[in-house]
Each structure stands twice: as C-alpha cells, then as structure tokens.
Symmetry: C2
Subunit: 209 residues, 2 copies
C-alpha cells in the first residue's frame, strides 16, 4: 500500500530538476523567503533529498546560482584586441554585462544574486567584494588604467549599469522594461562612453540656497 517510498524508476535527472526549481524560486522570492520545502515541492521531491544533494540551504543557493553562469568572470573576459579605443570598450562592457540580464537563463542567476546580496548588510558584504573586485580588475585592464581617476570612473560606470539593470529587469520600470534590447543599449552606451572618456569631467555644482 505504501509503495511510494524509496527510489523512483527511470533514469533520474532529479538533481538538475532541483537546481532548476531552486534557481527560479531564489530569483523570485529571494533567499530568506525561499524554503527548502518549497524547492522540494516544486521539484516534486522529498525535502530531505535536497539536503542529501546539497547539504544545507546555502549549498543549494550556491549550486543553483553558479549552475547557469559564473558571474565573476563577466568583467574578466575583456577581448585583448580593444585597447586605446574607449568607445568600443564601453560598448563591449555594456553589452557583455546586460546580456547576462537579457538572457532568460542567466537572468535568474543575476536576479538571485542581487536580491540576496542586497537583502541585508551581511550578504551585502559578499556582493560588495564581488562587485568591487570585478570593477577594479576591469579598470586595471582597461585603456584608461593610467588615468588617476580610472577606478572612480569604473565604479561610477558599474553603478550606472547596475542601477539600470535593476530598473529594467528587477523592478520592471517602464518604459525601460518594455523597450527593445538594442534600443536600450542605444540609450545606455553613449552615456557610458562619456563617463569613461574625458568628455565628462567632475564639476562642482552651484550651491543651492
């Protein structure tokens, strides 16, 4: 009568099924509100099986997030051909980063990372290290590495991109969320180019009364 116990017949892609359910739920509900039970239910599996494969909740999160993408390498894969030309560099940066958001598979990973990383100060420290490292490494390998404000400009550009990505892909603010990807890029790229070039210099704002 209780024939539903034990291993199920058929070759099991169960592990991957769990990761898929986990990634989707982490992207939708964030870390804290995603329960192992919910993941198991979505994957039609016993909760203990999730522990069996990934030990604990953090293990599931790491495995799920890293399964479709290795985010830390986004800024590291700078094609060596483009140097001296800041124009195409900004274009490449924006396209490389935003493609991770545009692609449906990797978008879940990005969303989960930012949702979790912005949730509280403890997890923000992890995200901070990640973003700061990639920003710095990218600034160091860019065509502007010799300028004294290279890191500042790189950080400003990163913040710009992160903010726009959150608006379009997480908060879904219109008209940013509804426009075509290439149109979105057409708006973003020129601004980034100016930020990275000397077309845009810091200027003290006039005092407000």
């Amino acid at each position: 009568m209780r024939a539903r116990s034990g291993r199920r017949p058929g070759d099991s892609g169960t592990r991957e099924q769990i990761l898929e359910s986990a990634l989707q739920l982490f992207a939708d509900r964030g870390y804290a509100r995603t329960t192992i039970r919910a993941i198991a239910e979505d994957a039609q599996v016993d909760p203990a099986l999730v522990h069996h494969f990934f030990d604990n909740k953090e293990g599931v999160f790491d495995a799920a997030v890293n399964s479709p993408l290795s985010v830390s390498s986004v800024f590291d894969e700078m094609p060596p051909s483009m140097e001296e030309t800041g124009t195409s560099e900004a274009s490449w940066l924006a396209r490389a980063y935003l493609t991770f958001w545009e692609n449906e598979e990797t978008r879940h990973g990005m969303t989960a990372i930012y949702r979790a990383g912005l949730a509280d100060s403890a997890t923000s420290e992890t995200l901070r290290a990640r973003v700061e490292a990639s920003t710095k490494s990218w600034a160091a390998s860019s065509g502007y590495k010799d300028r004294p404000d290279a890191e500042t400009r790189a950080a400003l550009a990163s913040g710009h991109l992160v903010g726009l990505a959150l608006m379009r892909y997480v908060l879904k603010i219109h008209p940013l969320a509804s426009m075509d990807f290439e149109e979105f890029l057409a708006w973003v790229v020129p601004a980034l180019e100016q930020r990275l070039s000397s077309e845009l210099e810091p200027r003290t704002a006039p005092a407000q009364d």
Copy 2:
C-alpha cells in the same frame, strides 16, 4: 519579587524607542531577517508590546520607515522657480535625492525601503509602483515634459541615481563610498545633465562579432 512586571515608572518614549530600534534593524538586516523579538530586545521591551503598538510586523515596518521621511514626496517638491533650465534641474534632482541618502537619519529609511523592495518579486511590485510614479510625476513637471522621450530620460536618470546610491551607501564600493559628498555630486551632476538634455542622444552601438 516579580516587581519587573507592568508599566515602568517615568515618562515613556517607549514607542519612539521601538521605532528607532526597528528602523535600524530593518536597514541592517532587511525585512525577513528582522524579527519582532530582536526589535523588542534592542528596545529593551517585551515583544508583545511591539504588537500592542503596531499590530503586526508590517505595521512596525511602515511606521518605522515613514517616521523619518516621506520618500514619495522627494520628487514632488520641485521648486517652481526652475523651468526651462535643465542644468539646475538635474542638479536639484541629484542633490535632493542623494541628500536623503547622505543624512544619517533618513538613510536608514532609504536603506530599509530598498532592501525590502528588492527582496522578492512581491515587494518589488510595491517599490516599482513607488519609483515609477515618482519618476513619471517628475518627468511631467520638468522642463522637458514636451519632449517625446521625457519619460525615457527620466527613467534612465532615476536608474542612474538609484544605482549610484546603492553602490555608495548600501554596498559601500570604493572609492565612491569614501569620497566627499560634494565630490560625489560633482561626478554625478554633469552626467545627469547630459542625460536630461539633448547633449546625449541614443545611438545604435556597432555590432559585435
């Protein structure tokens, strides 16, 4: 022997003390990880008292966040004097918004709102409505309201500001987090001005191979 029960002597600012503890904890740990018990402990009060004053957890959050600031009015208080001049408009916008982040009291409220609002898709909907409404109302009352891309530019500017605020105040990315407020503004304002003016037009990026 059990003399610690019941009302405490002295005039009680207990309600305000609870709100202060709540705001600080919500800013630091986000919504889900902040427990009513922790708030009560920080305020040196029984957890039931928190329920007595604010009914439920959501009530505490709303009261705590709205106590130091009314965020929705940030973009609505546009001084009527500045029209036609996009330059000072961008300057005013950046300074008004970022001052909420710079001020220690209101920063906790801002942090709590964004942490909670980005936590999951349900709460993101609340934040989306808030940001989209303020962005639209600001675009409608700006000197650019007649341009067909006014809303697009306003949304891009909002995303820009939100991203930079998150980098400097939440993730604390260097060198943005460590620089002086006026220097930070000096970097931000010119870029915003260009975004809002016709100095920055959308341009299709060159195709990547």
